[in-house]
Symmetry: C2
Subunit: 442 residues, 2 copies
């Protein structure tokens, strides 16, 4: 995939500088020592879920495939590294030819995960794998955090559509990735045009308070909006007095008015009152959209309210209290010597700081109970027991440095829904709790 296909405005010509300096200095030292080309396997996993969360959601995989394919050191980047004296000339020469040529396996996008799940496995020489740590973790940690929040909100909304509208609350490009991750997690649409442009996510939006304030009266504003956008539009009814605004809205647009939006106040109370008023005015099909600092709990509290859609901003794009995951990228195996046929041996950090890792290249399977409901995340490094062979979670994502698992975003969205539906019922409780599946190492 070349740059043009990545499209404006979220293209970056190369992802190679989304890298912590120590990856390059390690490369230099390993090249110097002759150990850079040992075969290695790195795994992405997390030691724990965010406090109280029942499951995690893998997101960003599609972006990650683009990022790895576009990881190359173009001349301006090499010039910078030379001028900043980050690494020496032999290392710069090696970087000039860098392309990842290894293998990536992992949980497919949308899949759920638990503590210890081998979410991603990157195999290749130390030199080619070590460089990818930061960009891989940036993408997975950010996107998975948003998708997990989105999934909880989708559960709370119970089928009512969710609109992502948090662009203004996060970095402008993080926002585009957040829209994408929210869609994977179950959102229906976004206000962010860049997300529509880049990922084809349906976009929505009609007007803000500024539009009402621009005009000499609320009636003028509604008339202008309906005149241009049609009666199917959504009128914002809380700039001045909601009751008066709803009356004016139906007078201006007629009973076929598409929707009204409420952005402040006690949404439960106001939604009931507005529904009653709309029905009295004959606007039975006019929908009610609510937006105002919603999160999964506020959405759940509106389950009985006559609300037709939720717009969610801040709490979605900040992961509803958990804006990042704690995924790490750790070497779990390396060749026992320098030859191309030296066998892989497990490795792991062993200090006493509580950051223990499990060495070895892992497989993972989700074991179902007799009813087909998942009951454990089983992780091993040896042979896969026969009864788990049909339940393995990892798939091949890149082979010889090329993505082999690109898919439509809807496929990841559908996969997430299906994976969540196979978890025990307590997975979708919003209250704080333990991971809904235990992790078993065998």
């Amino acid at each position: 995939m070349d740059d043009l296909e990545l499209g404006l405005p979220v293209t970056v010509p190369s992802t190679a500088l989304f890298t912590d300096q120590y990856e390059l200095t390690m490369l230099q030292a390993a090249l110097h020592a002759g150990t850079a080309h040992r075969r290695t396997v790195f795994e992405v996993f997390t030691r724990r879920l965010p406090a109280g969360r029942r499951y995690g959601v893998v997101a960003g995989t599609g972006r990650l495939l683009d990022a790895v394919e576009n990881f190359r050191f173009d001349p301006p980047l090499l010039d910078y590294l030379r001028e900043a004296r980050v690494v020496d000339e032999p290392t710069l020469r090696w970087l000039a030819d860098y392309r990842f040529t290894g293998t990536v396996r992992g949980y497919p996008e949308g899949e759920v995960y638990f503590p210890g799940s081998p979410i991603l496995q990157v195999s290749g020489t130390f030199a080619e794998c070590v460089l990818l740590e930061t960009v891989i973790l940036s993408i997975l940690n950010h996107d998975s955090a948003i998708a997990a929040a989105a999934s909880r909100m989708a559960v709370a909304a119970n089928g009512r559509p969710l609109i992502e509208m948090g662009a203004r609350r996060t970095h402008e490009l993080a926002a585009v990735a957040a829209s994408r991750a929210a869609y994977v997690g179950g959102f229906s649409s976004t206000s962010d045009l860049a997300a529509g442009f880049r990922y084809g996510i349906p976009t929505v939006g009609t007007s803000a308070h500024a539009f009402t304030l621009l005009h000499d009266s609320e009636r003028d504003a509604f008339t202008a909006q309906v005149g241009s956008l049609g009666t199917g539009t959504t009128l914002l009814v809380d700039t001045y007095d909601v009751t008066e605004a709803v009356r004016t809205a139906v007078e201006v647009a007629g009973p076929k008015l598409g929707a009204v939006r409420i952005d402040s106040g006690d949404l439960l109370l106001v939604a009931h009152r507005v529904r009653r008023q709309l029905d009295e005015l004959g606007a039975h099909d006019t929908r009610i959209t609510v937006t105002s600092d919603l999160d999964e709990y506020a959405i759940a509290s509106l389950a009985t309210a006559p609300v037709d859609a939720y717009g969610v901003g801040t709490r979605l794009v900040t992961g509803s209290g958990h804006p990042t995951c704690s995924m790490v990228y750790k070497m779990v195996a390396r060749a026992s010597g320098d030859g191309p046929d030296a066998p892989l041996e497990p490795v792991a950090k062993k200090s006493s700081g509580g950051k223990l890792s499990v060495g070895g290249v892992k497989w993972a399977a989700r074991r179902p109970d007799a009813d087909g409901v998942a009951e454990a995340e089983v992780i091993g490094t040896g042979e896969v027991p026969g009864e788990l062979a049909g339940h393995l979670l990892g798939v091949e994502l890149m082979r010889d440095g090329r993505a082999v698992a690109r898919e439509r975003l809807d496929a990841a969205r559908d996969r997430h829904r299906a994976a969540r539906d196979l978890l025990p019922l307590s997975a979708t409780q919003l209250s704080q709790g333990e991971p809904v599946l235990r992790t078993e190492y065998i």
Copy 2:
């Protein structure tokens, strides 16, 4: 500033789609109604600081100037808007020629702010101003959140250098902006090469646990690293046993070893033990860097530890509990009619939902007490009292659509330090509290 100057890899060809759809539909409706060209003023402000915070920090201003200058609808964007039926043909024609031609004033980057502070004022026609809402808020809300966390950490570090190393915990481009904002807030350097490339921030980094695990022994790894990076390098000493690693490190590098890094365990205890061991080994000048889930509180708790530098990741790039600000972009004044000379009149939303705004174009001044210490953030819409004329906070940032206040990042960093130093002493308490200055409206 053209694209090339913006540089790789964080260039975006245009910022015009970092926009919520409703901005374009409002534009369409206003063009249709003939109200699009009324003169308006929009202000960015926040109704409150994050709970417990004593002051806010303006950051992202420099990025914002680039974003507004690069806000234009190139043909591929217009094609997308047409195909997705976001707006009609007359609106597309208007967008094709769009350039912001108005004025931007605001608090300069690095300045502190309080609830109600008019952080930014955008003046122009409704059409040209309304489109900028999302991109302006994205940048200010993200960058200011990071800078505020960085500032608290800098206070806690009390002069010891702080290294930004959170790239892996946030979106890959948010990370670059986070490095920049952290530098404004008082950090010294970053691990993120893209931030070094794009903004000239000093970069640092040497090695991770993977480097030790790659080698057949810790001694081999240290020998390889010192052989390539020199004795001034930083050796990571907590892969296996810290005491043994420190002994090996000094044996390999000699007493001129640059530094050791500790990334796990009870940092207070371990730092003391390592310092003692280094001194016993004659490595009196070898520094100690600590990194491991640090935040401002952990940093403060290490004030008496023999630590020479702090590396901070997750908690910095997630705003230490507050990953976004709650800045909003509200129309505060508009022309009372359609003519070019119609006077501006204040406007504000008036519904009862608690989201009150104060209408009118504001000035702000920070009033000092007799000792020169700030005692109030004074905000008004009328004439500036003579005694406050020398203490106004707003400056001109763009004139006729062109940036007039570009500056080196160090200028914003120095300004922040100076502004913080003029606040009452309680500003730098880490404990939860009220904003350290009250906001007075006159």
